[in-house]
């Protein structure tokens, strides 16, 4: 039941439904802005559950209610699809992102690009933990394609998510780090140095899909479509995502 489903007076008159959307935490700001706009068009109630994609994946696997899932990585969606929990037709790579090198204010001048990783000026490099954080995995691929993975082992600090990388660099404790461009926009003192070449790692995609046991597949689909309108695209771009 949706006992707290008080519908807006001027909204459309059809019955208010509740849509459960599990979305990667990095999308919080963008989706919250889109939600406000969507409320003008539909009286469906959007119940966002924001968390790390891995957490969301586990929750869905254990039967948590979810109509639409927007993951920050291909792998988590693949797992769910493998479990047969995803409406395969609905799966789509909604967004893309770029891996970006950021540097702490003190070292911003000394760090110029990938060539700086092996430089003695760089004492520490923060990245996401490769096994569990998608961005960490992309970072590792980048280092491997540069052929310096073994060389920089001593400098690496593994974070539990991209935002932690950001905090390490922004607070001056790690000299540089690799984050998504959408995250890099939140830097306060740190500097964006340069984007990593797109071919140095697997494509960064945010797949989305309707879930098989969705309670409100139609309403979820309606919102899913709204996410692909020009308005939504503009909003995502504003927050640093690429729209695919």
């Amino acid at each position: 039941g949706n006992e707290n489903g008080t519908s807006d007076a001027e909204g459309p008159t059809d019955e208010a439904v509740e849509i459960n959307i599990s979305a990667a935490a990095s999308l919080t700001d963008a989706l919250t802005e889109i939600q406000a706009e969507y409320a003008k068009k539909s009286n469906a109630i959007l119940q966002f559950n924001f968390a790390a994609s891995g957490t969301l994946q586990k929750q869905i696997q254990e039967g948590a209610p979810c109509d639409l899932f927007i993951s920050a990585s291909k792998g988590h969606m693949d797992t769910l699809e493998g479990d047969g929990l995803v409406v395969t037709d609905s799966r789509k790579d909604l967004l893309g992102n770029t891996l970006t090198l950021i540097a702490t204010a003190e070292k911003a001048d000394l760090i110029t690009g990938p060539e700086s990783f092996t430089n003695d000026d760089v004492a520490s490099i923060a990245i996401g933990e490769p096994e569990s954080v998608p961005a960490g995995n992309y970072s590792k691929q980048t280092f491997e394609s540069l052929g310096i993975w073994d060389q920089i082992q001593e400098k690496l600090v593994f974070a539990k998510d991209v935002r932690q990388v950001l905090q390490y660099v922004d607070s001056g404790n790690a000299d540089c780090g690799l984050v998504y461009r959408s995250d890099a926009m939140l830097l306060e003192t740190g500097k964006i140095i340069v984007d990593m070449p797109a071919d140095s790692h697997d494509p960064i995609v945010y797949p989305a899909a309707i879930m098989k046991n969705a309670a409100q597949p139609e309403a979820a689909n309606a919102f899913y479509e709204f996410l692909q309108t020009d308005y939504a695209k503009k909003t995502f771009e504003k927050y640093g995502f690429q729209v695919l």
Binding site: D29, N49, F50, A51, T55, K58, A64, L166
Partner: protein
């Protein structure tokens, strides 16, 4: 911003009440009734303290989710869904704060001179009445310490709650979850405000419990007078 505050208070209060009941119950059972396997029971009780909260949350998710046997049982028989509801948050908060309550109450029970229970027995009191009128009042300092810590832990609980109850603004988003994501997304102002609110709560809690404790105190710790 009001929603997470109210929700947090509700969840923490209910969780603390349950944790109090369970903590006192287990402390009594294990320490006063001398059930066998004391060390094993205590190990199980302290585990939620030792495991990372997100692991505790994951285990709860597995047990209470639609596929878990408890979750299925509740869903099929009572149409009660726990995952992604505040009930789930209460369960998570209760479980992570139970070790605190248990240990505090246990320590309090162990410092009570058995002569008072004996006196109550000679005066014809049943075990239940001795528990209510002698053991509990003499254990107040420890119980209150347990309440303080449990409430603090419950209202601050985040990892396990996030896993089982999710982070659904207006529905299951608690203050710590809100703080966490505010910090994560660089919303320093909101984070600061929420931290301040938490601090005020702590103060009120500590103040209230200390006042209560003072009223219940029968020993004179004020020194010479």
């Amino acid at each position: 911003m009001l929603a997470p505050i109210i929700l947090s208070l509700k969840i923490a209060s209910i969780a603390t009440v349950f944790s109090l009941i369970l903590g006192v119950f287990f402390a009594y059972l294990i320490n006063k009734k001398n059930v066998p396997g004391k060390n094993i029971w205590e190990t199980i009780l302290i585990l939620p303290m030792i495991l990372p909260p997100s692991v505790t949350g994951y285990l709860l998710l597995i047990a209470l989710g639609k596929r878990g046997w408890i979750g299925r049982f509740l869903l099929e028989n009572f149409e009660l869904q726990i995952v992604f509801t505040w009930v789930g948050a209460v369960i998570a908060a209760c479980i992570v704060s139970l070790p605190l309550m248990y240990q505090n109450v246990k320590a309090a029970f162990l410092t009570i001179d058995p002569i008072y229970e004996q006196a109550a027995q000679t005066l014809g009191s049943s075990e239940g009445k001795i528990f209510r009128t002698v053991i509990i009042p003499l254990a107040w300092p420890g119980i209150i310490s347990g309440i303080a810590l449990s409430f603090a832990r419950a209202i601050g609980e985040f990892g396990a709650t996030l896993m089982i109850a999710g982070n659904i603004p207006g529905k299951t988003q608690t203050i710590p979850t809100a703080i966490y994501f505010a910090v994560e997304s660089g919303n320093t102002e909101l984070a600061n405000t929420l931290v301040l609110i938490m601090t005020i709560f702590s103060f009120v809690l500590i103040f209230g419990l200390n006042t209560w404790l003072k009223n219940k105190n029968y020993l004179d710790h004020k020194g010479r007078a």
